[in-house]
Amino acid sequence: MSTPLLRIEDLHVGFSTRAGEVKAVRGVSLEIEPGATLGIVGESGSGKSVTAYAVTRLLDRAGRITGGRIFFRGRDITHATGGDMQALRGGAISMVFQNPRAALNPIRSIGRQVMDALGAGSGAGSLRDQALALLHAVLIRDPEQRFDAYPHEMSGGMCQRVMIAMAIARAPALLIADEPTTGLDVTTQKTVMDLLARLTAERDMALILITHDLGLAAQYCGQVAVMQDGEIVERADAVTLFQRPIHPYSRRLVAASPTPRSTVAELVGEAPAPPLTRAPEPAGTPPLLEVQGLVKRYGRVTAVDDVSFTLRPGESLGLVGESGSGKSTISRLICRLIDRSAGDVLFRGEDIGGLPARDFHTSPFRREIQIVFQDPHESLNPRFSAFDSIAHPLRRLGGLKEGGALRHCVEECAHRVGLPPDLLSRFPHQLSGGQKARVGIARAIALKPRLLVLDEPTAALDVSVQALILKLLDDLRRQEDLAFLFVSHDLNVVRMMCERTIVLRQGRIVEQGASEALFANPKAAYTRELLAAIPHFDPEAALVG
């Protein structure tokens, strides 16, 4: 029997904090053979990254290995000295980090950084030639020209390729990729992951992929380990995990991961809701929102270019696009937080685009159009308790003064979004991501608006929390006849949540239509490309393949 490349036995990692020691990893055991691929999937706080950092001993100062052993090529490296670890890192074990732009040195050219990673000359050819070969291998076009470029001159995807080039520079036996594509666009994610998979296979490297995305792990890894609260709850090959997850947590995780066919109800394991039926509107009713030829320029850059669409009362419309597509700008233009450069925004037939954004808070339409922001943490005032955050629009726009009526209203809002009333006195940093998302939604629906703009409301949430929040939003829309403008980069989510979808690219509409039809039969090449790039795992297809 061969020795596994890496074997972790009953690893415990603790962090000392103000509240005493927190056990981040509690008895993880796993092994990986040379050349194999292992996905470690878990939500934030599950200890997946800490496990990897413990292996490479890059834990921050408060963290330490409190138990267990780590073997690399049969050698115990649990208590190896700093010098030994330094030799292992980069040489035999290397890492690709989450935020490539932050991980690269901003004041050194990328070619130089790859040369640095190669270290003192090894193998044939000059260091520069080797670095060029590596840049070529990670599919950087014109590596000769790009050699002297600085990180800020390159896109996020390009930076991640440079990181990969540096990670494989000294032909490590094990590559640990920690959320390598988080923050990248879906098409970029696909090229980066394809590249990573191909390079590790070609060079016979073992790959540990740490991710929150079950679909991504299953698509690229032979084996998948699911972590929860510092423990591995299930480990299986990808097909088995998807078809017959055993542990209740992995079952929930598999169910909560959106697939091209899932519905919102299925994500949380409920029966699908009946399709929404609406009473026909009387003839001549203006649409709730009508956008005509909307343009927004920043200096010479056109962020939104001639966008037109309409939204009927109670309808949900999805805006899909990658970064730079102008989708967030459109959401802020419609919320009247910024001013348009040209075009019209009509709300119930009345022009609201002409009002300057700086005066819109005095408009009677302010309370009709509300917004839920992308990052639930960043969207809550750190000095406001949950109660104050939800009460703020009620005080300002609802005219409610302090006292019983206000408290009653806030508690009712909290109830509508499923937020326990005893959490209302907490501050944002004392709430979990899902709870903060609920506060943000409660604040937006407090005034019973008719149009809710949702700017990537679940992008910063774990997948199981995302499932609950999506279900909540879907229920709210059904119960309260809210119209949604749902902005997202996640096509699966938009398909589930929206009746109609608009695909945007560089500020222009590429394609629009009913969601089901658009996803089943995309017409524009760009839409097809987007759809193909969604990481998803099809167990049946994998078996046939």
Binding site: R18, A19, R332, C335, L337, R358, D359, H361, T362, R366, R367, I369, Q370, I371, F373, Q374, D375, E378, S379, L380, N381, P382, R383, F384, S389, H392, P393, R396, L397, F427, H429, Q430, G440, R443, A444
Partner: protein
Amino acid sequence: MIATLRHAGWVLRGNPVTAVATLGAVLLLMLAAFAPWLMPYDPIESDVASALQPPSAAHWAGTDQLGRDILSRLMAATRLDLAIAASAVGVSFVLGAVIGSFCGYRGGRLDRVVGRVVDVLMAFPLFVLAMALVAALGNRVENIIIATAVINLPFYIRFARAEVNVRRDAGWVEAARAGGEGHLSVVLRFLLPNILPAMAVQISLNLGWAILNAAGLSFLGLGVTAPTPEWGIMVAEGARFISAGQWWLVAFPGLALMLAVLCFNLLGDGLRDILDPRMRT
């Protein structure tokens, strides 16, 4: 309120230096507040018969060349010096925070113009600028306050501008606007309270500096004039006697000055930990 105090207690327990500094600052403030009742002698009335006596049971810190009790004069000076420093810092904090916040929030031309004015102000040797201001405006306590406030103002403007600048695009600022706030109230009611913890550190460090500045001006004969008890004047007047071995005339006011400045400087970091709600669990 109780939660705030409990949290303050926690911060102080974990940080003995801050605890000592806090205690010192509180003692100084109490001394300043109750000086008229605590002083054993009149700080201004002279008693030539008992001039230049070394520290004794009757005069703990000795007497000066006019026979005035130095301890009483120190207490009265604490009141004056802290009042000057606090009002100067208060004025520059309020003006600086408001001007800086609006510049940081608005950006654009206003920000550039104010930024250059601040640059020009900071290019002057600050103490010389303060001296010039007092010389031009006249030797009065109000003018020391104005001069000290003017030379501190640029730091507050810059600080507030930078702190607001990093927060102005935060989701909660946009959320406040969606909740019906105009730009003015976003700055005053949302951004300003959020930059307070960071500014508190600046205020505390600045208080020490402002005390030193006021004493320095008086030491040079600009500002508070004799016979008003003030640390700077006391040092200046006592300096003549140090060669004759009458050290207590200079040592005690100097020590008082040093301890006051030290207390406020050490207080800074602890204050931020106490005021920032995110530091609580």
